[in-house]
């Protein structure tokens, strides 16, 4: 148990920045550049952790606490995901609610720490984040219900920790929305552009505009852990029985990089529609998981 926790924590902390590096490398490859090193994010985190900080005079204690809370909650959520078969650290009916609500708590503090600065930019990002994540959550939950049905369990970590895979059509119908939501929740194209410098178009980055030094390091690290978490879930859905399936997260990172290279980011107005269509796919999958017609065939 303790060893499992240590392994998952270490994996989340260590591998997550690498995912960002892989995505950036893939994007660089597609646009014909050499790109920054795979380990750039480690250097960035190290540099930021060493730095002094600047904090706006408008902010309150919320702003100081938020990075720690965001980081810890995201990390805890990531640790809940079993990294190899059968090793979820805690499982009960509805454990995924705890997992996603921990992320929700992280988001809550991220948002109020953004509003704490009293800036129109941060308010803008906070407003977008609050709305889009509210739209994304039902989609994820329906996908998870499908997976739970396939595995015949009410605990998500049990389902991820192994057990029988179901029909691959239904699995893919559950995975695709997950992937879309992963892009949305992790501020990737087409929902948000992680590389942009334009405050007016940002969602996630604009909320941490006033963070610096360690606070920023924790926020960035938390963001990459969140990406790790989602990609780990996806690979565990696809390959629940394999010990090494966590290595596939790097493949997921490559896929994200490809997606980001071949499509442009969409206008903010269309984001709810995108999430809505992800929800349709998720619901179709859920429907098929108990539809009589499907059983007949």
């Amino acid at each position: 148990m303790i060893i499992n926790i240590i392994i998952s924590t270490a994996a989340a902390l260590v591998f997550s920045p690498l995912l960002i590096g892989i995505i950036n490398k893939t994007k660089a490859f597609f646009s014909g550049r050499r790109g920054s090193p795979f380990f750039q994010m480690y250097f960035d985190l190290y540099r930021l952790l060493k730095k002094d900080a600047v904090r706006s005079g408008t902010t309150t204690i919320v702003f100081i606490l938020a990075p720690v809370i965001v980081f810890c909650c995201t990390l805890a959520a990531a640790v809940l995901i079993p990294i190899s078969p059968g090793t979820g650290i805690i499982s009960f009916t509805g454990d995924f609610v705890l997992l996603f609500y921990l992320l929700g708590l992280a988001r809550f503090f991220l948002i109020i720490s953004a509003l704490d600065t009293g800036s129109s930019f941060e308010g803008m990002g906070a407003s977008r984040e609050a709305f889009f994540s509210a739209m994304a959550e039902p989609v994820v939950f329906i996908s998870i219900l499908t997976i739970l049905r396939l595995n015949g369990t009410t605990s998500f970590t049990d389902a991820l920790g192994g057990g029988g895979a179901g029909n691959w059509i239904i699995i893919s119908l559950a995975t695709v929305p997950f992937f879309i939501v992963m892009l949305a929740e992790n501020a990737r194209i087409p929902f948000d552009d992680p590389n942009t410098h334009l405050e007016l178009t940002m969602i996630h980055e604009v909320m941490i505009l006033d963070n610096s030094g360690r606070g920023l390091a924790l926020m960035e690290w938390a963001a990459s852990i969140k990406l790790w978490l989602f990609s780990l879930i996806i690979v565990r859905i696809i390959l629940p029985g394999s010990v090494l399936s966590f290595l596939l997260t790097f493949v997921i990172a490559v896929i994200i990089g490809i997606v980001e290279s071949v499509i442009a980011r969409t206008t903010l107005l269309k984001i709810p529609q995108l999430l809505f269509s992800a929800g349709i796919i998720a619901f179709l999958g859920f429907f098929l998981s108990f539809s009589k017609i499907f059983v007949w065939s």
Binding site: S31, S120, F121, T196, H197, E199, A264, T267, L268
Partner: protein
């Protein structure tokens, strides 16, 4: 009434005394008659005459007839009745006149300084929409991208922008004032940096003015080199813009490739004259560098390669549905608004307005060779990008043609410094952003009494503000980039 305006001859100096000096009422009537008849204000400024009286000079042109007229008006009591309420295109000129000379346009609906005349950068009363729910977004003067300083003030509710006001003046260098009493030795270099990305256009305009005042006829070969440089400049900037536009929407491939291809085109300019931004290429009397056969072949080869690269990189853009969906219907400015505020350049052509100085008021090599005017209809970001894409292709074709038929001859001669006294001349050039207008007046000793520069950005900034109304604030960066206006060209 016909004789009450002077038809300016391009490349010729015209005696200032021939510019009719009218009383306010006659002037007003005449001007409004001209604008109603299709006249477009190129420049409107104040200058002192010999008696140190303030006179307003108006340069107005008919695009359809290819004529440019000049009139002037005597100002009494440092005030005149504003023309803006009758015709919107005067509004910024009148504000500038008020700022520079203190002549008050009475009844101007929005009279406030254009820049920061008091010297306190940032001090400006912005228009505010009433109501608790509106929030303001202040962007700039320092921007996250590597661009020039300027301040934008949005009045927003949520994601919707209801009003945008731009505030300039952070780049004010006092160029016009420094030119008074010129030309000086460094004037030609100053012209190169009015707007650093439009060096050829501004230098050419200045060169044409100097040539007109000194009655220098320059050889066709120099004209051709100027045209090539101007089109190369257009290509480089348009390609850079298309790349930047796709960068703003996170479409990396085109962004990265166009960024490189823009460099290729800048290097072609460097091949021509040794400077990537063509500094020092266009000189009064000719060009600073000639194209020999070696350069010509190299240029043609590089152009061919650049063209191929650009076509593939940009058609990637037009074939990606997510890009089109992002560009379409973003930042629309209607043709009526664009016509009302007399926008110029690609931004105007993207609204379906066929306005191109190269066709309407040709000078130099454009007399001899014609470039088709590229337009689009929707007036959105997509159209502005599309017009650029078309223009780059036309320009490349034009350069290829010119390289093939490059006239023989020398590349220039001295203009001398004996400017014709008491004269006025106007030079109109289609820079890559649109029409730029230089107007020079000489005094009795042959020095510049007034040198007035109107950059295309001066016409178009309001267009950006109008395009944003009712739009999404997250569309602003891409919309701004699709106009890509100059700050320093505006601030001067």
């Amino acid at each position: 009434m016909k004789e009450s305006s002077l038809i300016i001859k391009y490349n010729k100096s015209n005696p200032t005394s021939k510019v009719p000096l009218l009383g306010e009422d006659v002037f007003r009537k005449k001007v409004l008659e001209m604008t109603r008849g299709g006249g477009r204000v190129n420049s409107f400024f104040s200058a002192e005459n010999d008696n140190e009286d303030l006179v307003l000079y108006l340069i107005i042109s008919y695009d359809a007839r290819g004529e440019t007229h000049a009139l002037s008006m005597k100002v009494e009591n440092k005030a005149f009745k504003s023309l803006t309420n009758e015709d919107t295109q005067f509004h910024l000129f009148e504000r500038e006149i008020y700022e520079q000379s203190g002549i008050r346009p009475l009844g101007h609906p929005w009279l406030k300084p254009v820049r920061f005349p008091g010297g306190n950068a940032g001090e400006m009363d912005f228009f505010k929409i009433e109501g608790r729910e509106i929030h303001e977004v202040a962007v700039g003067p320092i921007h996250a991208g590597i661009i020039e300083p300027g301040h934008f003030r949005f009045q927003c509710h949520g994601e919707t922008v209801y009003h945008l006001e731009t505030s300039h003046g952070y780049q004010h260098r006092g160029i016009e004032k420094k030119l008074t009493g010129g030309p000086y030795r460094d004037t030609v270099y100053k012209m190169g940096v009015i707007a650093g990305d439009s060096t050829v256009a501004h230098s050419t305009a200045y060169a044409q003015i100097m040539e007109a005042f000194t009655r220098t006829a320059i050889p066709a070969r120099a004209q051709a080199v100027r045209a090539i440089a101007l089109e190369l400049e257009r290509c480089a900037n348009h390609i850079g813009d298309i790349g930047a536009l796709s960068g703003d929407i996170g479409y990396l491939s085109t962004s990265a490739y166009c960024g490189r291809i823009r460099g290729d085109f800048l290097n072609m300019s460097a091949l021509l004259c040794g400077n990537r931004f063509s500094r020092g290429l266009v000189l009064p009397g000719g060009v600073g560098a000639d194209i020999d056969d070696d350069i010509r072949e190299q240029l043609a080869a590089r152009l061919e390669a650049g063209k191929k690269d650009f076509l593939s990189a940009a058609s990637l853009l037009w074939e990606t549905p997510s890009v089109l969906a992002r560009f379409d219907s973003t930042g629309i400015i209607s043709a009526e608004s664009a016509e009302r505020i007399k926008m110029v350049g690609p931004a105007a052509r993207a609204c379906g307005i066929e306005r191109d100085v190269r066709r309407d008021h040709p000078s130099g090599y454009y007399h001899l060779s014609y470039i088709p005017v590229s337009t689009s209809e929707m007036g959105d970001v997509s159209s502005r990008a599309y017009v650029r894409w078309l223009e780059v292709q036309e320009s490349i074709k034009f350069i290829e043609k010119l390289l093939a038929e490059l006239p023989v001859g020398d590349s220039g001669r001295e203009t001398g410094t004996n400017l014709k006294p008491d004269s006025i001349t106007v030079s109109l050039i289609e820079g890559w952003r649109g029409e730029l207008c230089h107007t020079a007046l000489t005094d009795g000793t042959g020095r510049f009494r007034r040198y007035k520069i109107v950059d295309p950005s001066f016409h178009n900034w309001l267009g950006l503000a109008l395009a944003m109304r009712g739009g999404q604030i997250s569309d602003f960066p891409v919309c701004n980039k699709s106009f890509n206006l100059s700050y320093c060209g505006f601030d001067l």
